[in-house]
């Protein structure tokens, strides 16, 4: 993994972590990025703790150190504990998770590893545990966080490790 950032962030400090990142140098997409990111947290039926669970599991796949270090305050307020985060980040996510949480992890893993090969039994289990709007929210948030996380990795400058960093959803 590279140690140097490949792009310079914009000058100035707005206090918004997305505007102040390398993404800020493409103004044509910036507002769309911010609107979509906010919608992921605000406009879907899943609670913030489940959104964060999926986001963190996805970050494990992409290898984004920053994404794995971040905790969104809304998810903590919604009940996501650090013990659960460590389970999600581990190799055996079946332990200590509810059925819904295990299925979220299974969906994220399937999306990352073999989206076209989703087995019938996983489809049926997801349909039994989630409403249609919840499955759509889960799908779209995984697609969003996967793409933005992979973008962050490919832009370089990722440290080897980072301490836990609690932030608010940038708006």
């Amino acid at each position: 993994m590279t140690s140097a950032a490949r792009v310079s962030p914009p000058a100035g400090n707005t206090g918004n972590v997305i505007r102040d990142s390398a993404l800020g140098i493409v103004p044509e997409t910036l507002d769309h990025y911010l609107a979509l990111n906010a919608a992921i947290w605000d406009a879907g039926p899943l609670g913030a703790a489940e959104v964060e669970l999926a986001r963190l599991r996805n970050a494990r796949h992409t290898g984004c150190v920053l994404c794995q270090a971040v905790r969104y305050d809304v998810a903590i307020a919604d009940g996501l504990t650090e013990d659960k985060v460590q389970v999600i980040r581990g190799d055996d996510p079946a332990a200590g998770l509810s059925e819904r949480e295990r299925l979220i992890v299974a969906f994220v893993d399937q999306y990352n590893l073999d989206p076209g090969g989703i087995p019938g039994h996983l489809q049926q289990a997801l349909l039994a545990a989630f409403r249609e709007d919840e499955l759509l929210h889960l799908s779209l948030l995984v697609a969003w966080f996967n793409g933005s996380s992979r973008c962050a990795v490919a832009l370089g400058g990722m440290p080897e490790a980072m301490p836990r960093l609690e932030i608010s959803v940038p708006r």
């Binding site: 993994m1 590279t2 140097a4 490949r6 792009v7 310079s8 390398a22 993404l23 140098i25 493409v26 044509e28 997409t29 769309h32 990025y33 609107a35 979509l36 919608a39 992921i40 605000d42 406009a43 879907g44 992409t62 290898g63 399937q110 999306y111 989206p115 076209g116 989703i118 489809q123 349909l127 249609e132 709007d133 499955l135 759509l136 929210h137 799908s139 779209l140 948030l141 697609a143 969003w144 996967n146 793409g147 933005s148 992979r150 973008c151 990795v153 490919a154 832009l155 370089g156």
Partner: protein
Amino acid sequence: MNWIAANADREQTMGRLPGIGVQFQRLYASFYRLPQLPPEIVEMCRLRLAQLHRSEADFALEEYPLASDRREQLQHWHRAASFSAGERACLELAEVYAMDCGAVTDAQADAVKEHFGEAGLVALLQALGVFDGFIRLGLIWRAAPVGGRQHD
């Protein structure tokens, strides 16, 4: 067959959660209106991702018109003389990104920046992330994409 929303295509499925789906589609569309990257290159990279995911339905879409011979040569762009240096830089980065975003090298990123600047590199990586996401959603939902229009 779409197992979440029966008989719905990918875009219709996204539209069933409009608060998010519409925002996603707006971001997707914005990549074809960038001053930093020609839309032809954006489309080439989307099509190359579709090939690497083996999504014939995504490859059949035409979000921006490309000459038929360019489409046909895309899988073997390394050997085709018709692709410019800037196009090659973006296609090479797209291929590596598709396999492992952490494997992109400084030289590959620099090659894109040489032609399209730092903003071009950021825009390309943003676009690749969203295109890859749309393709994966179509695959995991088993929902055919409809996009702009079908290529003839």
